[in-house]
Symmetry: C2
Subunit: 309 residues, 2 copies
Amino acid sequence: MSKLVIVGTVAFDAVETPFGKTDKILGGSASYIGLSASQFEVDSAIVSVVGGDFPQAYLDLFSERDIDISSVEMIKEGKTFFWSGRYHNDMNSRDTLATELNVLENFQPIVPKTYQDASILVLGNLHPFVQSSVLDQMTNASTLVILDTMNFWMDNALEPLIEVIKRVDVITINDEEARQLTGEHSLVKAAQKIHAMGPEYVVIKKGEHGALLFNHANVFCAPALPLESVFDPTGAGDTFAGGFAGFLAQSENISFENMKKAVIYGSTLASFCVEKFGTERLESLRPEEISARLKAFKELTQFEIELTN
Amino acid sequence: MSKLVIVGTVAFDAVETPFGKTDKILGGSASYIGLSASQFEVDSAIVSVVGGDFPQAYLDLFSERDIDISSVEMIKEGKTFFWSGRYHNDMNSRDTLATELNVLENFQPIVPKTYQDASILVLGNLHPFVQSSVLDQMTNASTLVILDTMNFWMDNALEPLIEVIKRVDVITINDEEARQLTGEHSLVKAAQKIHAMGPEYVVIKKGEHGALLFNHANVFCAPALPLESVFDPTGAGDTFAGGFAGFLAQSENISFENMKKAVIYGSTLASFCVEKFGTERLESLRPEEISARLKAFKELTQFEIELTN
């Protein structure tokens, strides 16, 4: 089996949406990426850090899904990274109510030796310096590196972020972030500029409008599944990245045609993520539910037009 | 050949975009719908009104494309409907600078006898009372009626608009208008409410994010072609409706599967419309260009996933 290593946050989230609010629940980029990728046949590991307040039950959740958590460092005297946010009525924007870095402040990820040659590395949302230090530890030039980042780093650490972007194969980024990073309103032009910065593949996530995959002249567009309601969008982007990476790792094929399928898997998993608070829906997700939704994606997008001229 | 009758405005537009501005050029919902539909093998007619100031050259443009304009009334002493607008930098919003109804103010469309039993009627953007009076003239219960409308009528003539909506088979509406009409943010819920108002088919246009086709439980999603730049969005929605209607009329098939294709044709034609000012691009459009772009749409959206479970 292919090896997939995920470096990101494992955290507590507290979320408020028009539908309700949660206490501290499981959150963090690596949690969503890991749970999503665990739907595929891969050997995966999470590299992260938590505090002494982090429940064993959450760690068990990963272990039960065969995710290697031996590199999730626990700092007994520290507290787990905490984020809290409130979504607006349209669910497209949110206010951050609290960000407590805690043990994340001095996080120095160490990629376990057995994963330094992984087929795929996913760099979840973290300081670009930390992401760079992970890249330095990888030993296999053919590792496919997938980077996820956020506007926060564009505002606060643009130069180191650009240095990381140079070194990755795939970047996943949302539409507003792509525009901010490049100064281009057109997503086609934004993708071209990001290509020029390094990545061969650019995935632009558009939330309820789906996702675009660019590989220079090749473009693929996946819709989001039209949903009656989005219950909690937290983690949808990370869940997308996890499904994308998990499928690629399982299929051991990084052609553009296969990346298209990976985008559909990513979108499919993200469509589940938003149905309940936090990771709840991902935790209960069964393979036959994924199959049924892939079928819905096919019906939603496939058409037959005979091209004659 | 199937008959397609289009009732809407034939107008002068003056448009300002970040790329430049135009003097008075050919505009109006029926102009875009007609030019777009003329790409298909149909007998089509426009029912509209213009003033004595309307150039013969524009009328010739329709005739050369075999569009019957015998029911485009010319009021010699009147002036043609004029609209002027300025697009913002993001091209997603615009300010109306001028709306001069002129001859449109007393427009009482008369559907020619030979078109009263048309296969398809497209009701372009007009006062709902006027749209209703057109419906009263139709004699064939199996005519497929496609309605396009705007938020302006929701603000100013909601009750008569609802009366028209009751009587149509297909409504094309943009996302913000669907939300306004139904009070639902979710487009899935909005489509359900619009179904309950009458139309069997609901097409929600999302601009750069494509279009959704709803027929109760059946949903289809067409992306917009990712474009480097949108030069002038004026008429894109009408061009979509024209391509949609033209394809349906030509194929004489109103199954959901065929409507999916019609949405793709509509999106394809709209993707040309926005490349130049006004109707300019539609006027020069050749069948082989349409074929090439349909191919691009296929490549953009089609994927192969084997469903095993």
